[in-house]
Symmetry: C2
Subunit: 354 residues, 2 copies
Amino acid sequence: MMSKRILLIEDNTEMRENTAEILELAGYKVSTAMNGREGVELAQKEKPELIICDIMMPQLDGYGVLLLLSKNVETASTPFIFLTAKAERTDFRKGMEMGADDYLTKPFDDVELLNAIESRLKKSDLLRKEFSKSIEGLNEFISDVKGFDTLKQLSEEKELREYRKREEIYREGNYPRGVYFLNKGKVKTSITGENGKEFITGLYNEGEFFGYLALLEEGKYNETAVTLEDAEICLLPKEDFYSLVYKNADVSKKFIKMLSVGLHEKEEQLVKLAYNSVRKKVADALITLHNRFVKEGSDNFTINISREDLANIAGTATESTIRTLSDFKDEKLIEVHASKITILNYNKLKDLKN
Amino acid sequence: MMSKRILLIEDNTEMRENTAEILELAGYKVSTAMNGREGVELAQKEKPELIICDIMMPQLDGYGVLLLLSKNVETASTPFIFLTAKAERTDFRKGMEMGADDYLTKPFDDVELLNAIESRLKKSDLLRKEFSKSIEGLNEFISDVKGFDTLKQLSEEKELREYRKREEIYREGNYPRGVYFLNKGKVKTSITGENGKEFITGLYNEGEFFGYLALLEEGKYNETAVTLEDAEICLLPKEDFYSLVYKNADVSKKFIKMLSVGLHEKEEQLVKLAYNSVRKKVADALITLHNRFVKEGSDNFTINISREDLANIAGTATESTIRTLSDFKDEKLIEVHASKITILNYNKLKDLKN
DNA sequence: CGATCTTTTGACATATGTCAATTATAGTGG
DNA sequence: CCACTATAATTGACATATGTCAAAAGATCG
C-alpha cells in the first residue's frame, strides 16, 4: 500500500522536525510548512491525505488555515487535526466548531498522535474512493460503507423475502420502512400519469439498492416498485439508512453529488422524450436496458422483457414499440425469440439518427 | 418569542434539580429525565429544541442516548450537549466523534452553560425553519443563511452586472465560477437535444439563485442560461457557496432533501411529456409560468413570453403551441395581446382533461 | 390440454410536426 | 416620434408518424 501524504504546519522548528520524524518513522510521507500561508499553498498544490496544523503561528494562524482550506472543494474534506499548546476550553471549542476533525494538546505522546492520525485516515479512506458518479453508484457506495460482512449478514437475516415475477414491493403513496436491497432478480420502479399510463423511472439489478428517494425526501413513495422476474429482496431499516447518510458530513456530500448528477440525467431524458422519434426512443430504451443489465464478458446481450414494459421505458404505445422492434429485426439490429430480445449491433442502435 | 424546550438527562438528583432551575430562570421550558432510557423516550415524545445529557448514568449511558437519538430523523438534528465530570481527553473525543455538538465538563458555571445553549440554539434556529420543500426553496434558504445584510451587500458590490434581454449568462460546457443571484429580471435555463431543439429546464425569478447544479455536481454546466428580459445579476463566488453548503451538516441535509424533491418532480414531468396531449402540455406550461412568476395580490396573471420559449417549456413545436393558444383564447381561458398572455381561468386550465 | 395472457399484424383516424406565406410587433436610427 | 426593418406571431395546407381498436397468432401456466 502506498504511504499516505501528510502535511504538517508548525512554526516552531524543533517541534516541527520532531513531529515530522515521528511521522516518517511511522511510514508516512511528510511535507512541512513553517507558517500558515505556506501551509495553505502546499495544501492546494500537493493535496495531502491529512493535515496537521498548529494554531498559534505568525502571519496566518491555524484557524485561518482551516477557514481557507474549507472554502476549496478539493481540500475541504481533507482530515484536519489541530496540534496546540492552547489547552483551554474556549480555544478547543472554536477549533472544533470550525470543522477540525481532532484537537491534540501539547504535550502529546507519539502513540496518541499516531492513533489520532490512523483513525482519521481510516474514516476518510472510505470516502476518498471514486464511486461512479451516477446515482447508481449509491449501491456500490452503501455496500462499501456498510462493509461486506454486514451486507452479507443482512441478507442472511430474516428480513429476506422472496418475490414472484410481477409482484409488487411497494406502491405509490405507501410510507417507506427502509431501503430495499435486491439480492437476486430485477426490479422496475414506475409512476403513473393521470391517464393511467405508466412510465418506468428506474431499473435495478442484483446487488443494488432501491427505494431511497422517498426516505431522502422524508415523504411517501411516489413510485411503484414491481419485480421484473422472480427475486429475493431484503429491507435495510430506515434508521440504519439515515444514520448512514447523515452521520458523516462527507457521506452527505457524496449524496448531494449523486443526486445532482441524477437530476441532470433526468433533464437529459426530458429533452429526448420531448423531441425524439419513436424509433429513437425505442433504440434508447434498448440501450438503457443493455447498460443497466449487461453482464461483463458476454458478447451479445439478451434480455427478457415484456413489450409493455419496454414501451413504458421508451414512453410510447406498446404497438408502436412492437412495430419498431420488427423494423430493427429486419435491419438485423436485434433478434427476437419469443419475449427475448438480443442486441446484435449495439453501436448502430446507439447512434441511430432521429 | 416562545420559550424553547430543553430536555435535561441527568441521574444525580441534586445536579439535575440545580441545573433545571438555572435553565428555568433563564426562561427555558425544561423537561427532566433521571436516566438514559427515560431520556430517549421523552426526546421522542416531546421533541425538545435542545438536549443536555450526562454521560455516566445507570441503565443507558449518554453515548447510548446519543446513538439512539441519531438514528431517528426527528431527533437526529436536535442539538446535543454532553454534561459530564469525565474531563478526560478520550471520553471527550468519543463524545464529539459520535456527533455531540458540545461537551461541558463539570464543574461549570451558569454563564458557561447558558452561553453554550444559546450558541447551539442560534445555530439550529436557522435550520429549523420550514423552507418550501421544492428546489426553489433553495433561494429562500440561502438568503436566510447568508442573512439579509450580506445579501444586500453582495448586490451592492461590483460583481453586479446588467444583462440585456435574451443575453447569455453561461453556456453548456462552461465551467462554473459561482452561483448567480438574480437581482432583477427573469432567466431561463435550457438544454439542447441532438436535433438542435431546446428544452427549458428551469425558470428563475427576481431574488432567486440559479446555476448551482453544476457546482454541486462538481462539473461543467450542462445547461445554458439566458435572460428572458433585461436583468441584473450578480455572482456569488463558488468558494462562498461551497463553504455554505458543506460547512454545516444540517445544511447538507437540507440540500439532500431539496435535490430529492427536485428529482421526484422531474420524474413527474417525464410522464407528462411522454403521454400528455399538446393541449395539456401547453396548459401545463402556462400553469408552470403562473406558479413561477405570479405576484401575490394580483388577480389575473399576465406574462410576456415568446411563443418559442413557451413551446420549449411544453416540449412541442412552436406552431402547435400557437394553435393551442388560439383555442384557449376562443374558449376564454386566456387573453392575448401581442406577445402578452393573460390567464383568465386558472382552474379550468389547470384541470384540463387530456 | 385448455384457458389466459402476450405478442403481432392490420386497418384506420388523427394529432402533431413541417414548410411556406402572410400579418403583426418591436427594435433601431434618423 | 416616425418610418423602416428585422423579428416574431399567425394562419394555411399538407404529410405522416404515432396512437387506437380489433382480431389473429403465439406463448405460458397450472
